[in-house]
Amino acid sequence: MEAVLRLEGVTKHYPGFTLQDVSFRLERGFVMGLIGPNGAGKSTTIKLIMNLIKRDGGIIELFGLDNVKHELAVKERVGFVYDTIPYYGMLTIAEMKSLIAPFYRRWDENLFRRYLKEFDLNPHQVIDNMSRGMKTKFQLAVALSHDAELIIMDEPTSGLDPVFRSELLDILYDVITDAGKSVLFSTHITTDLEKIADYITFINQGQVVFSLPKDDVLERYVLVKGGPEVLNDPRVKGHLIGVRRGQMGFSALTTEADALERQLGDAVTLERASLDDIMVFLVRGERNV
């Protein structure tokens, strides 16, 4: 399958933070969630992909092209949605569009108007007077109106209320899946991804913990709960990730659910872990190490 985005051994050093050996690939027509706690390296990764910062090593290719050598060709085919709108707030939607559109060869004015209507946006509205959600929708309309094949979204739902987030995700799901576009969706609100993501790449402390199909992730990691005495059982040693102790017992993550169930029987209960659980316990596990 054709990779629209490929990162191989990407590194970036800052004083006090290093993005190390980041590798993952996203294929055409799929949605990848880029998750991780604040400061994990998600935005740095996106800035590297957009060539807003320079990588110290590794390969970044979009549509099989190096993102630095073929920067303009690549950016023609990429749409972006950032957490805060990077456009002049004193201008109206129509004015800002008139400044952006000329830079895209494949800009489709009719499509843009259609998205404005669909997203309930008034072209004469001043950007500063729009809600955060409307600003995100405007960015999305721009991203979709120049026939972008890859949409890169950096925390697009942060700061939005749950109702608006859900609405935005529905729009994303409909528009993007219908048009067969690929999406890289960075967020720390992992519930957003349970709906729309096909793949999950989890970054923590500048390193990729895993990059897998979402269903594989949800299958691989299971939530284990049990009484405090279970923690003293030598058979659980090395099988629990990010143990959280409480008065009544413990909860943890495991990738050895079958083995634990076989060996401990009713002493433990196994539950499906959400992406949120997986992220929280894995981060906790790293800290415990």
């Binding site: 957009m50 320079k54 950016k75 950032y82 805060t84 990077p86 707030g89 201008l91 400044l99 830079f103």
Partner: protein, 220 residues
């Protein structure tokens, strides 16, 4: 080329809804009035007008984090730099034109006892002043960013006024024969003016090259 035009259009359009152009317009008129008594100050006012508009444009970029958006668009990086120089040049042309019109209007109406208008040598001096100022301003701005460059470029503007004042004083002292006196009286030979304008243009081109180099190493 069309991308450059759209970038320059952007630099002008961001002032559309703001009152930030009222002050520059008044300064252009003030420059027309001050031509009579202190032509060096009038030239300084034109530089201030260009400074004001450019700084506001940069401030809007900073306030709205527009660099992030524009650098994510398919625009050559050098175009983003060159367009700022072209915008400054365009603002200089517009402000000088407004001041020339204001000067003609004031003289025709017989206001403020103004009898002197803009001469070619004063316009050339204004171009050289603006050109040399922004040859220093832009590399500082692209190196340090808006917040860190604010005070440095402001004090640079103040020292430019001091320089122009000194130049005017020197012209008054040495009499009609010296070049400085000729500039303010409007009697400079065309080859001298052409050399000054070409020299300033060369410095601007060099500054543009330096700014592009600085920007290549810049990260957001």
């Amino acid at each position: 080329m069309s991308k450059l035009i759209h970038l320059v259009r952007r630099d002008l359009m961001v002032h559309k809804r703001e009152r930030s152009l009222v002050v520059p317009a008044l300064l252009c008129v003030a420059a027309a009035i001050f031509l009579e008594s202190t032509p060096g100050f009038a030239v300084g006012l034109i530089t201030t007008v260009v400074y004001h508009v450019v700084v506001y444009t940069n401030a809007y970029d900073f306030k709205y984090n527009v660099q992030l958006g524009y650098r994510s668009l398919p625009i050559p990086r050098a175009s983003l730099i060159v367009s700022r120089y072209l915008s400054a040049l365009l603002i200089f042309i517009l402000s000088t034109a407004i001041s020339i019109l204001a000067s003609a209007a004031v003289r025709t109406a017989g206001l403020f006892n103004v009898t002197r208008g803009w001469t070619l040598s004063l316009v050339a001096l204004a171009f050289c002043t603006v050109g040399l100022y922004f040859s220093v301003y832009f590399p500082i701005y692209f190196r340090l960013g808006y917040m860190k460059s604010r005070w440095a470029t402001y004090f640079l503007l103040l020292s430019l006024y001091t320089g122009l004042g000194a130049l005017q004083g020197l012209g008054a002292q040495v009499g009609g024969g010296a070049v400085t006196a000729q500039i303010f009286s409007g009697a400079v030979d065309a080859p001298v003016l052409a050399a000054a304008v070409l020299g300033t243009s060369a410095v601007l081109a060099l500054s543009m090259f330096v700014s592009i180099k600085i920007d290549q190493g810049r990260e957001l």
